[in-house]
């Protein structure tokens, strides 16, 4: 009796199951199609413009002579410095919060605020950077001021993702180390951080990928839109790829629009290269650990 009554509901459940599956697939296809359309558009517009001359050239009033070198070097420079600032600070903060800080009201307030900071619009960081680094600390419109601003911007993301990676390290590993008479620091340094490293690296790449596409905070602190030279130090004025692209997009001439498309391709390739490096490092590290 129970069986016969249950039978008619079975197909219904399966229909629901299949419907949800199709819906999920549809959502995925929609997202991929949009992305593909954007990429195709950019490649159609910009592919012809890509050349060695474009990569090594300086900005010009004539679209066909304009190159992207100062912005490319500026981006690499700024992101490198951003990583130098945000990575040690972020990992150290996460280690403190996860391994050392005791459960208390203060630590909970700090945690909530870090999570909130990760969601603050980037232009706010630009204003902070303008007030703090450019004016108060007198860094001027320099590579260093830009990197410090982006460093602050990605710091909460680095902290959050590092904590997540540290939390995923099994308790048994820590206990095994403590049981052998290792100190907290030895346990953290020799066991916990190496085990968490692949996860930390993934978080870092996500954070830096966000930073490399940022335009608003850098415009706020006064990164230039026309820079006919490669930055020669941390105090040098600079521009970055997104600002150069933004500059070209806002010109009325069609030739500049093609430059912008080519610039976007360069930015995408830089991003892909960063991700590839992260995957490579992670695989190498996991192989060594296993």
């Amino acid at each position: 009796m129970t069986v016969t009554r249950a039978a008619p509901t079975q197909p219904l459940r399966q229909v629901g199951d299949r419907a949800l599956q199709s819906l999920g697939l549809l959502a995925l296809l929609l997202a991929l199609a949009t992305l593909f359309a954007l990429l195709a558009d950019v490649f159609v517009d910009g592919w012809d413009r890509l050349s060695w001359g474009f990569l090594t050239g300086y900005p010009s009033r004539r679209a066909e002579n304009a190159g992207i070198l100062p912005a490319l070097v500026g981006s690499v420079y700024v992101i490198g410095l951003t990583a130098l600032i945000a990575v040690p600070l972020g990992i150290a903060a996460a280690v403190h919060l996860e391994e050392y800080a005791r459960e208390s009201r203060v630590s909970r307030i700090i945690e909530i605020n870090i999570a909130n900071l990760a969601g603050v619009p980037s232009i706010i960081y630009g204003l902070l950077g303008l007030g703090l680094f450019v004016r108060t600390m007198g860094m001027g419109r320099s590579v260093l001021a830009g990197a410090a601003t982006l460093g602050l911007l990605v710091l909460p993301v680095v902290i959050l993702s590092t904590r997540e990676a540290l939390r995923a390290v099994p308790k048994s590993l820590r206990e095994g180390s403590y049981a052998l008479g290792a100190t907290k620091w030895q346990t953290t340094w020799h066991q916990v951080l190496p085990s968490a490293f692949p996860g930390i690296l993934t978080g870092l790449i996500l954070a830096l990928s966000r930073a490399i596409g940022e335009t608003a905070p850098l415009i706020t602190i006064g990164a230039l839109t026309y820079v006919p030279f490669v930055p020669d130090g941390v105090w040098s004025p600079f521009t970055v790829l997104p600002i150069q692209i933004f500059n070209w997009v806002s010109r009325p001439q069609a030739a500049f629009a093609r430059n912008a498309a080519a610039g976007i391709i360069v930015l995408l390739l830089l991003l892909l290269a960063m991700n590839a490096l992260a995957v490579f490092l992670r695989d190498r590290y996991q192989k060594r650990a296993a």
């Binding site: 403590y178 049981a179 052998l180 290792a182 650990a289």
Partner: protein, 275 residues
């Protein structure tokens, strides 16, 4: 099941070992130990004298506090937030819970092997060398290698791993991993070895190898083993303590606990009537 358990006075329960030659000296003396996880009391007024160079087994049903008690002996519970300890644990007469105790030094003297083998994701060699390195016990490369080899031999795993010392420890079988963890614990030459159900995840053959190992190790170490396998307790231990609901019900020579226990509750448990 009745919760009204008549507790015998401790002096009636605790007797020196009747195995070996003469009463063994006490290595660990526990006096009136209470343990809390937050507001939940896990151990209540435990007092016991654990003899040196013998194997002492803790038995009892799941959740009876035997593992918790084992972990109070090297202060492993310290790393769990919200735990509280009252009472004394004297090792060679020194209270390990006295303020100012060096917990790191304590854990060097009181080694531990866990229920689930937990080798570090490093090479076999590095697993054993780790304790020596972090404690600064290796004088030089040759000394380190000698100590690693000695420890692997003492844990009866040397022959199986000597040709692949620099391969990952995670590639070993479960039984081998557990013996590696024992080797790792032996490398820093502790005085006491705590084992938390060391064979519960192993097959009978691997279990037998661990038990043989325990038998050989007790010449050098004071061993405390938690087990939920009563046959195992009967096979490997000289003294047995039976825990129930956070209390120590009975403690005495293993043959007496298993053949002629003083407490009805102990008898019910060892004969398999509950638990």
């Amino acid at each position: 099941m009745s919760t009204d358990i008549r507790m015998a006075p401790l002096s009636d329960i605790v007797r020196p070992s009747d195995r070996g030659s003469g009463p063994a000296p006490t290595k660990i003396a526990v006096k009136g130990l209470d343990f809390h996880y937050g507001s939940k009391r896990a151990l209540e007024n435990i007092s016991v004298d654990i003899p040196a160079n013998l194997v002492t087994a803790f038995i009892g049903p799941s959740g009876c506090g035997k593992s918790t008690f084992l972990r109070t002996l090297n202060r492993m519970n310290d790393i769990i937030p919200g735990t509280r300890v009252k009472g004394q644990v004297l090792i060679d007469g020194h209270d390990i819970y006295r303020p100012g105790t060096d917990v790191v030094a304590l854990r060097r003297r009181v080694g531990m092997v866990f229920q689930k083998s937990n080798p570090f994701p490093k090479s076999i060699f590095e697993n054993v060398a780790y304790g020596l390195r972090v404690n600064g016990l290796a004088r030089n490369r040759a000394h380190l290698q000698a100590r690693v080899e000695e420890s692997l031999k003492a844990a009866a795993i040397w022959d199986e791993v000597k040709d692949r010392l620099h391969e990952s420890a995670l590639a070993l079988s479960g039984g081998q991993q557990q013996r590696l963890c024992i080797a790792r614990a032996l490398a820093i030459e502790p005085e006491i070895l705590l084992m938390d159900e060391p064979a519960s995840a192993l097959d009978p053959i691997a279990t037998q190898r661990i038990e043989e190992l325990i038998y050989h190790l007790k010449a050098t170490y004071t061993i405390v083993i938690v087990t939920h396998n009563m046959q195992q307790a009967a096979r490997v231990s000289d003294q047995t303590a039976f825990f129930w609901l956070g209390r120590l019900v009975e403690f005495g020579p293993t043959d007496k606990i298993f053949t002629n226990p003083a407490e009805k509750l102990t008898e019910d448990y060892v004969t398999g009537r509950f638990g």
